[in-house]
Symmetry: C2
């Protein structure tokens, strides 16, 4: 995974037009997991120096809507994007530095997907965010 033609296939498979900005955005998200929009813009501009931030925002929205990338946004953080999709994994977020790491679900079957009382809602996804402190910040505050 990772070649330009792979990404072209992905876009076509999702019925999306193949454009340079979209390819660059897709590449950037695959290469920088959990990157915020600003980092993605910077990364994209290494390939295409003249893309507008609007094109990046738009591409990200389109790709998110198509399910090619996933948008995550823990409280107090800006939007971040990741490429691991469809495997129901979750995230640990550091309260101190905001770092994000992936975690597979503790329960092997779809975990808390069934709420005890769903209030009539039709639930299609359960998102789990673990809050804590990452190793780096932990040692930093202990010293």
């Amino acid at each position: 995974m990772g070649t330009t033609s792979d990404f072209q296939q992905l876009l076509r498979g999702a019925d999306l037009r193949v454009t340079r900005p979209r390819l660059a955005v897709l590449t950037a998200v695959y290469e920088h997991s959990h990157a915020d929009t600003d980092s993605i813009i910077t990364a994209v501009r290494r390939d295409l120096p003249h893309v507008s931030h609007q094109a990046v925002y738009d591409s990200l929205h389109t790709l998110t809507a198509a399910g090619l990338v996933r948008r995550i946004q823990p409280s107090g953080s800006v939007a971040r994007y990741e490429s691991r999709i469809g495997d129901n994994h979750h995230h640990v977020v550091c309260r101190s530095c905001g770092r994000i790491a992936d975690v597979d679900c503790a329960v092997d079957h779809v975990p808390c997907l069934t709420a005890s009382d769903d209030h009539g809602f039709t639930i299609d996804e359960a998102e789990v965010i673990y809050w804590g402190v990452c190793p780096d910040c932990s040692t930093a505050s202990n010293s």
Copy 2:
């Protein structure tokens, strides 16, 4: 629960000064669960017409830090606050209208609190958000 003197006790118990804005904010959060900051400001101003938005923001931060209210912020939503604390319940969010409802945890014991691989993080909270469509929006889109 709900009288002014109750809230005074709460504030004193948390070593916080009892001020009119704080009492009004606390009351507003108790009366309007899952309200966003703007609604809270409006509600507060029914009692105290002259409070600044800054005072409300500050009170909310203070109360959150003291653990008297909880801040929740699903992706794509502004900050919201609720008064149910300390019982490890979760939320269903409507993708269409943004409505939020409470759900108790499906698993009776602390649920997904143990990640399969915590990457060295010290985890202190697991936040679960169920995404779906609420009954109202569901019927609205079917018709």
